[in-house]
């Protein structure tokens, strides 16, 4: 029954996405040209990866506001690595970026678990700290596409059977995260923590450890997103990913992950990311003033919350109706 509800929620976003694409396509058939679809997927990739990480954290009734800064730091690190070590193999750079993100996530998770400070405050702090490190590191340095190996930059635009390689990264991340969350103890325990942290503790769930690793996962994925950002754009300054954290939280909420934890899925979050990106490129095609784009995103968040509420009320009714007689 719960699975059916989740399905309904994700189906809703998928339908909204399909509707948006259909309307835009009707207005301008070039919207679905191979090039534009590729751009859409590329554009969604980084946000989707961040959203998967954020969903893992939000499910535990926490939030990670530092992901934009981690992305910036990891992108900068990738560039610096390539400048400092010409001929560095690409996979090493990817691993280094992910590892740096994981370390940042561990800082977040460690502070939250050890100091028992709400994640909102801790990650708001590290948002500035990580961005500050990024700026310090970037000062006096100019990283351009020419500084990076061609193989790395090609990864940012290459396609396999028409699908961008970056999008494949996102799909792999999504499937792996979804699988762990649904089918493994550690994954289900994240939901338990978000649903009722005290009950989780009484059930013997290692709450602190699980939350710590959720932040490490979110950080690592933000690190990966940073590497992909560097590959895609080539030119790096200290403002990469600036303000991205709110887009990510928006994608997660639109995707049906309850902000107070315990329910939702990474698939929904990823769909939310795709939907937000698609709106971004569909509105200009539809002739809507780009000025309205932010308002549209806001309306979408409110609509998503309204839908969640409606589904919850309907579910509550059905459950009470199904109460067994005694």
């Amino acid at each position: 029954m719960t699975h059916r509800l989740f399905l309904a929620r994700e189906l809703g976003i998928a339908l909204a996405l399909a509707l948006l694409v259909a309307v835009t396509f009707a207005a301008n058939p070039r919207f679905l040209s191979a090039q534009n679809v590729k751009d859409l997927l590329l554009g969604s990739t980084i946000l989707a990866i961040l959203a998967v990480g954020q969903a893992i954290v939000v499910i535990t009734r926490n939030v990670d506001l530092s992901v934009g800064s981690i992305l910036g730091l990891s992108a900068m690190a990738t560039g610096v690595l390539f400048v400092g070590t010409p001929g560095l193999p690409v996979p090493v750079a990817v691993v280094a970026g992910v590892a740096l993100g994981a370390v940042c996530g561990a800082v977040n998770g460690g502070l939250i678990a050890a100091a028992r400070v709400p994640a909102l405050v801790v990650t708001l702090g590290t948002l500035y700290v990580f961005r500050g490190l990024d700026h310090t590191w970037a000062s006096g340095r100019q990283i351009n596409a020419a500084d990076m190996p061609r193989g790395f930059l090609r990864m940012g635009s290459a396609t396999v059977l028409g699908v961008p390689v970056l999008a494949l990264f996102a799909v792999a991340v999504l499937v792996a995260a979804g699988f762990v969350l649904r089918s493994y103890r550690s994954g289900r325990e994240l939901y338990a923590i978000g649903s009722d942290p005290e009950a989780a503790r009484l059930s013997g769930v290692p709450v602190g450890r699980r939350v710590f690793w959720a932040f490490v996962a979110s950080g690592a994925l933000a690190g990966l997103a940073g590497v992909l950002h560097a590959a895609r754009y080539g030119t790096l300054d200290a403002n990469a990913g600036l303000g991205q954290e709110l887009n990510v939280v928006a994608a997660v909420v639109v995707g049906g992950v309850a902000i107070f934890g315990g329910s939702g899925s990474v698939y929904g979050a990823a769909l939310g990311a795709v939907l937000l990106t698609t709106i971004g490129s569909a509105l200009p095609v539809l002739g809507v003033n780009p000025f309205w784009q932010r308002a549209a995103v806001g309306a979408l968040i409110l609509a998503a919350i309204g839908l969640d509420r409606l589904l919850a009320v309907r579910l509550a009714r059905r459950l009470q109706g199904a109460r067994h007689g005694r």
Partner: protein, 493 residues
């Protein structure tokens, strides 16, 4: 099998347990009784590995053990049913039962099919029908309690600790539970049973340990101790009388409920309560009593019917209007509906009167503090400081804060839903005394209760509900256990 030796535990300056000895033997059911705040729940949490004792040792099979957390205690074969259900509302019932120890396939994936199957088998053993796939959200308290019990049984524990498992259960469910517990005991499990219902204690247990103020004051075979002796040791004095009912003459009709209906819950409920009267609303769990009360108070909007207080009709589904009209509700689930657990005692006690206590819209500390102090004193609330969060109080004291909060509004109609659920004999008597005094002052009292002695001891009239309908209105003179149960179950006498 499991023993505590000289165990002590303090929280801040408050000593919850002092030099406690307790021995649980295989194949024996051991009752732990005591007033609220006597330290029973703390003892349970030490056995469960939630708290570590400050002094003394826990012995398992004669060897000292130190549990680092609940997982350790569970691995050692100790299963605990907590007083307040500890469920995950967003997860399915089956996941709730197996959280942290789900059955796994060879690839370490969760075996959902097996989890569902075993949950269904557990419910069959308990003789209840709960869909393992439904989320725990929206389960009634009784069903939540049954899920808790299933959770404990699923561990195949050697030691089963039950902290008031029956508080929300109906008679049939209690019998089922006891049958299962007796079977476990016969298989050599040790059982620790905490309850305020002495009939259950004597029906199930071989030994009784009495606690008072964090100490064990008596321990020994149940057969050698009468209820009166046990109660005297619990409170350290004689309980004058558990049901201090004052005779009153009913006055004007205060609460007038006509044709109240809410689809799927109750139909065509009509009754009156006069000033000075205590009217009990009895019936089995799930008969719709709490739902009627919620509709009367304006929490749920009824589909049809009306509620009048002193002749004035209340707008349906409008709680502030109900409070303004002089209605007060002490809800069934004090943790979720009666209190804001994180707020201080004084904040909670003055919550419904924020406006009355404020000056030009500002809530200044003085008035709030004075009012809270006077009421908590009158009700003898035991709290270290009034600024402590309510969550730090024991169950009985929490209930007193709920009562204080509403009594301070000087209600004309007081609705109490299970006023003494999960609170000890001493506090129970105090709550009963309060209700009687209020009625004597002309307040109309509507009391929902599942405890028959309470219903019979306190009520001027007993209204009985069955499957959403009001089926009987029995005056005090003719109300007895049989007449009420016959009406509640629909059985032929």
């Amino acid at each position: 099998m499991l023993a505590l030796r000289h165990v002590g535990k303090s929280f801040g300056a408050v000593a919850a347990l002092r030099d406690v000895d307790l021995t649980l033997r295989a194949g024996e059911a051991h009752a732990l009784v005591g007033e609220n705040g006597a330290g029973k729940s703390t003892l349970v949490k030490i056995l469960a590995g939630v708290h570590a004792p400050d002094t003394g040792t826990v012995l398992l099979d004669g060897a000292p053990v130190a549990f680092a957390g609940p997982a350790d205690a569970r691995a050692a074969g100790i299963a605990v049913i907590y007083q307040e259900p500890t469920l995950f509302p967003d997860l399915s019932v089956a996941e709730n039962i197996f959280m942290g120890r789900q059955p796994l396939t060879s690839l370490r994936r969760i075996d959902t099919a097996r989890m569902r199957r075993e949950s269904a088998a557990l419910f069959a053993r308990l003789g209840v029908h709960i869909d393992p796939d439904r989320p725990a959200r929206g389960l009634s308290i009784a069903d939540q309690q049954l899920v808790e019990i299933a959770k404990a049984l699923s561990t195949d524990a050697r030691v089963l600790v039950m902290d008031e498992p029956t508080a929300a259960l109906s008679g049939v469910e209690v019998e089922r539970l006891f049958a299962v517990v007796r079977a476990l005991r016969a298989d050599g499990a040790a059982v620790l049973f905490i309850s305020h219902r002495f009939d259950e204690v004597y029906a199930l247990c071989d030994r009784i340990t009495v606690m008072r103020d964090g100490r064990v004051v008596d321990s020994g075979p149940a057969a050698e101790r009468s209820v009166d002796e046990v109660v005297r040791r619990m409170v350290g004095r004689d309980v004058a009388t558990l049901f201090p009912k004052l005779d009153t003459t009913p006055g004007e009709v205060r609460l007038d409920v006509r044709g109240l209906s809410r689809r799927g819950f109750f139909r065509d409920v009509t009754f009156q309560v006069r000033g000075g009267e205590i009217v009990a609303l009895a019936g089995l769990v799930g008969a719709g009593r709490s739902e009627v009360v919620r509709a009367v108070f304006g929490i749920d909007r009824p589909d049809a019917g009306e509620v009048r207080v002193d002749g004035r009709r209340l707008p349906p589904g409008d709680t502030p209007a109900a409070i303004a009209a002089g209605l007060a509700l002490v809800p069934e689930d004090r943790r979720q509906q009666g209190l804001v657990m994180e707020l201080s005692v004084e904040r909670n006690a003055t919550l419904p009167r924020r406006w009355a206590l404020s000056t030009a819209g500002l809530l200044l500390g003085g008035a709030e503090r004075r009012s809270a102090a006077s009421w908590t004193e009158r009700l003898r609330v035991k709290a270290a400081r009034l600024t402590d969060p309510v969550s730090t109080l024991s169950g009985g004291n929490q209930q007193k804060v709920v009562l204080a909060k509403w009594l301070a509004t000087a209600p004309r109609v007081l609705v109490v839903d299970e006023p003494t659920r999960g609170i000890d004999v001493g506090t129970k008597a105090e709550v009963h005394r309060l209700l009687s005094e209020l009625a004597a002052d002309g307040v109309a009292v509507l009391m929902v209760s599942s405890e028959l002695p309470e219903v019979l001891g306190m009520a001027d009239r007993v209204l009985v509900m069955r499957e959403g309908r009001l089926v009987a209105d029995i005056p005090r003179a003719t109300a007895d256990e049989e007449s009420v149960m016959v009406a509640a179950t629909g059985a032929q006498a």
